[in-house]
Amino acid sequence: MKRISLLQSITPYESRQLRSNPLVWMGAGIILVFILVALIGPWIVPNDPLLVNMSDRLLPPSAQFPLGTDHLGRCILSRIIEGTRTTMSTSFLVLLTVILIGVPLGMLSGFWGGRLDTLLMRFVDGIGAVPEFLLAVAVAGFLGPGLLHVMLAVACVKWITYARLVRSIILLEKEKDYVKAAVVAGSGMWTILYRHLVRQVMSPLAVMTALDVGRFILLISMLSFLGLGVQPPAPEWGAMLNEGRSYFQAAPQLMIYPGVCILIVVFSCNLISDGIRDHLDVRNR
């Protein structure tokens, strides 16, 4: 399989090109809107997303409930907005955890080399061979369902790719003259890592993140749909689809809106990563 090399960082020329790609802009714009909605969510929800009102079950859209109500009489729009918060914050947290574990380990492993490096890479090969979803199922299965467990499971597997990427960058950079000069000048390891090497890692890391975010969102919502992730009554898009499943013949609005939201957000992420991939592909040819 032809792999896209993330090792070269994006040049200023390419970054300008990327910025002139309207599709990338569109994707970024949509995601920003969703982030904004997630941030100000509690102030813009029209109704309490958790308030059950059996007399208002499965209502069509109205002034009070702009998207209608679900099978327990809860406002669908409010739940969608609340769900945006859950989805955005979980994906962000998982991403952050993955970076916080993967990047330092990859840097240290690459820079120190030697026995630590070998040990870590063997370990990483081992876990990396186990498919991520399998681990998620195993963790959720044995520890019991729950958002935290699912996030843990995803983070457990995903940090590996990041550690590998960062390590390979460090291995390349370490041999360059400016690092050698820094060593000769008497800079300590931490100074070199922090002052010189961190910024080399940044741009490939950003590319990798862009490629991954959409997959994180899909994975987490899938696990919630299966009932392994977010637990009802907490609103999350995948969980909402799961709850509405038995009613969707009578009330298709229950399944339309959350699904469309997932589709739009992941689509926007993919627009961005597609743009980036295009540029990397051209260069690799």
Binding site: K2, P131, F133, A138, L218, F248, M255, C269
Partner: protein
């Protein structure tokens, strides 16, 4: 080559060991005391003495490493314990469910090929023109749509509204159609992209120029030379797709009440049926890891260029 094979085998064993340790530890971490569960199932009152006895019988007083060894030995003899729900052997349970999952996966692969090969070829043939853009848009949507939502939409349209196909369950071939589309469709984008770039690569090669010079029809060049060259990299991601197919099968089978391994493990998770979960994780883990390594090896065998390079290098 032999050296390669050997080191791959070592790696395989190492990974499988890691997998077994992980499942063993997860099983140990699972909430609930197995001793109490067993005793409660047989009698009413539980005395301290009984507990000690059962603990000894089960070997739970041994050091962890010894317990692991004993457990691994029984696993190697395909003894994966018994289901907590109906007391059937986990291995038999899984073998009952396996054919349904294989059927579903085969159906999904057919859908996958039917979707991705034409789109990949067309996209490469009309590079930069509207068919290319259309196929790309299709691939983007396919990569973004959650499979479970697609399944729901398909059921709504084809089973409820049009009444063409059954909503769920298994039986004749018509039951297989919607689940196969659900599972195959979301896997297609990766393949479309790969086929497109593979064919474009091949089209710029010398042998395609030579074929053109010989006056061979364009579609024949595409089908015979370019597509064949492009299918090789597709084979490699096929190994990786296996884990995607298995992940998808959990969702799809749950959605369509398809009696395969995926719906089995979901039931087991809801019922906290730990031996079954463990069996599933082990079985599918062995599948995926072995498939990946086999594909990797066969790739080396199939592509003469890689083989030659290796031969010269060593």
């Amino acid at each position: 080559m032999l050296l390669q094979l050997f080191s791959r085998m070592i790696q395989l064993i190492f990974v499988l060991l890691m997998l077994s340790i992980a499942t063993f530890l997860l099983m140990k971490m699972a909430p609930g005391d197995p001793v109490l569960t067993i005793l409660k199932a047989s009698e009413g009152a539980v005395s301290q003495l009984d507990q000690e006895q059962v603990r000894e019988q089960l070997g739970l007083n041994l050091p962890l490493i010894q317990q692991y060894g004993l457990w691994l030995w029984s696993v190697l003899q395909l003894d994966l314990g018994r289901s907590l729900v109906n007391n059937r052997a986990v291995w038999d349970l899984m073998m009952d469910r396996l054919p349904a999952t294989i059927n579903l996966t085969a159906g999904a692969v057919i859908v996958l090929l039917l979707v991705s090969v034409p789109l990949g070829v067309v996209a490469a043939k009309y590079k930069g023109k509207w068919p290319d853009h259309l196929s790309r848009l299709f691939a983007l949507i396919g990569a973004s749509i959650p499979s479970f939502w697609l399944g729901l939409l398909l059921v709504y349209a084809f089973a409820f509204k049009l009444n063409w196909l059954p909503t769920m369950g298994s039986g004749d071939i018509r039951h297989l159609i919607l689940p196969s589309i659900t599972l195959g469709f979301v896997m297609a984008p990766e393949y479309i992209r790969l086929l497109r770039s593979g064919i474009l690569d091949a089209l710029s090669q010398e042998y395609v120029r030579a074929a053109r010079a010989r006056g061979i029809a364009e579609w024949r060049i595409l089908a015979k030379h370019a597509l064949r060259a492009a299918l090789l990299p597709v084979m490699t991601i096929f190994g990786m797709s296996l884990s995607g197919l298995l992940a998808g099968s959990v969702v799809t089978e749950t959605l369509f009440a398809w009696p395969g391994l995926g719906s089995m493990v979901m039931e087991a998770i809801i019922q906290r049926n730990y031996p079954v979960i463990q069996g599933y994780v082990l079985l599918t883990g062995v599948f995926v890891v072995t498939a990946n390594i086999l594909v990797d090896l066969s790739y080396r065998l199939l592509d003469p260029r890689i083989r030659a390079k290796r031969g010269r290098g060593v």
